[in-house]
Subunit: 321 residues, 2 copies
């Protein structure tokens, strides 16, 4: 028996947004609802369910308000949506989401390519979203994931000083939580430890999630490095769907199944029940027939004699911090 209560991490499932937005097919709404229900049944307690962007730009997200409406019925779930600007934030708040997440690029080149705004303009946008939140929805949580924090395919290296300074400016602009995203799959464990440590030193408890990609196979190693640096929230995508797969066969996001297995095997509570998570994978596959899914643990199955942590069942939530 451990002498100290085991650690707990929050797995933030981004598949219904980051994943579904990245594939060519559009998952029919009933399948989305079934998948999100299955993810919740597996014990996931934060899900990025969609993004509020014009439907002509991302037809896969046209039903986001309906998806949010359904997700809000699932007990204990933090319903998160991505918004690229104030207009999206207005629609998301109107729909009733609990948490907004905004992508802000550390790389000026990526910022212009991704949202057609400079970093300075995005900071201005964040101040505006914060003002909206303060006036109309003070209970809504405001998160930023800093894109290209570990390098950029457009500009190459990204200065660590720039990333930390941007995080400080975002907190000053009213953001609750600033995480770091390895948008391009360039991060390595040494860099992850260095940058998350600097982030925590700079913004303390506003330091947020690790959003790692598996482009070069380092996704779990980078999550382990982030955990070692005190990170306790991890973005992941069921089946590794989405992310920035720059090459055929190279998956993008960290695979939820493998990440949960790693933490549970280490005795770190995720609150996620792995067999039920495998069932949710079936719901995902049913909604996106023919789409390749990644992940080694679902293929290999759980090891003989594998015992999940005490908090693995959503019916028995952990009481440890």
């Amino acid at each position: 028996m451990p002498l100290q209560p085991p650690s707990t991490v929050l797995i933030s499932e981004v598949g219904p947004r980051d994943g579904l937005q990245s594939v060519a097919a559009t998952m029919p709404t009933p399948h989305k609802l079934a998948w999100i229900t299955a993810l919740h049944a597996a014990g996931l307690r934060e899900i990025e369910v969609g993004s509020f962007v014009p439907a002509h730009l991302l037809p896969q997200m046209a039903d986001v308000a309906e998806v949010v409406r359904h997700a809000l019925t699932l007990p204990g779930l933090t319903v998160m949506a991505l918004v690229p600007n104030r207009r999206g934030a207005e629609a998301a708040v109107q729909a009733g989401v609990h948490k907004l997440t905004v992508p802000v690029s550390a790389s000026e080149a990526h910022s212009l390519a991704n949202v057609r705004k400079t970093r300075a303009q995005m900071l201005e946008e964040m101040r505006s979203i914060h003002a909206l939140r303060a006036e109309h929805a003070p209970h809504v949580h405001l998160e930023v994931g800093i894109s290209t924090a570990f390098g950029c395919t457009l500009q190459g290296a990204v200065s660590e000083h720039d990333v930390v300074q941007l995080a400080e400016q975002l907190v000053a602009a009213g953001v609750d939580e600033v995480g770091l995203s390895d948008t391009t799959g360039m991060a390595n464990p040494a860099q992850v430890r260095r940058l998350f440590t600097q982030l925590r030193n700079a913004i303390g408890h506003h330091s947020g999630a690790a959003h790692m990609h598996n482009t070069r196979g380092l996704g779990l190693a980078n999550c382990l490095a982030a955990y070692d640096s005190g990170v306790r929230t991890f973005d992941a995508s069921q089946g590794g769907l989405g992310g920035c797969p720059y090459a055929p066969g190279a998956s993008g996001n960290v695979v939820t199944e493998d990440l949960v297995f790693m933490f549970e095997a280490m005795g770190i509570h995720t609150g996620v029940n792995l067999p039920r998570l495998f069932e949710a994978r079936q719901a995902l596959a049913a909604g996106l027939p023919g789409e390749p899914l990644y992940g080694m643990t679902p293929e290999a199955g759980l090891p003989r004699g594998f015992v999940a942590t005490a908090a693995a069942s959503p019916d028995h939530p952990s009481t440890t911090p």
Copy 2:
């Protein structure tokens, strides 16, 4: 610039033995020689080139003496072969290998299934191999990789005490170096840190390589954990060939390409040149047409602006320890 000289690790390539022995096809000898030459040209300085076992048991290894003869012509290469018993060791020493590696199971059930000997009988075999070495080939290095050190699909959990005690007994039997193998892909980073730390406390500088599998996607995370615990030798297999793939799609051994990328990206010297390693992958593919190869880094390519460590070129070997 780093204030201290960067660390160096040894990547021990096991593909020509562990990999080729695990696939149904037999790679023709000229292709084996070309692949090993390409691996050496990429900077690999220890290669497990084959195993000395009866040809009727493993026809893929029937040409091992010829392969060893060729490998011995490659400058600076440590030529290693697997031997399961004294008879194999005699043949390997006769062929002129520099290093013998013997698999000894921590799990009694796996030991009986794998080599039809108990652990006690394998310890006796090691004493006999050590005596052979002392008499006929004192320059030959003697290594054991403890199989099923992190769990066994036959017996389930394996006691950490048993693993460490076995390592001590092996050193007492004359083994130079004892490593730990995650034969069944059951290891997790917390366990890896714990067990390698215990191993080092018990047998000091006799503590050897980490042989990790990627069965559930944790291969690199486990190597990172082993590195953190002071391990500096890592077994890996080009294209992830071999290992114990208990499920379709689940690769076995840690992929050399991804492991080298991880360390080089962290600033840790491997001595391996990644573009040349990708060329060696072509030589492997040419010798095993149709065989699936794993690895994310070869698919994604190196990141823009990627700079390998100073010692990455085999033409400029590192002078740091």
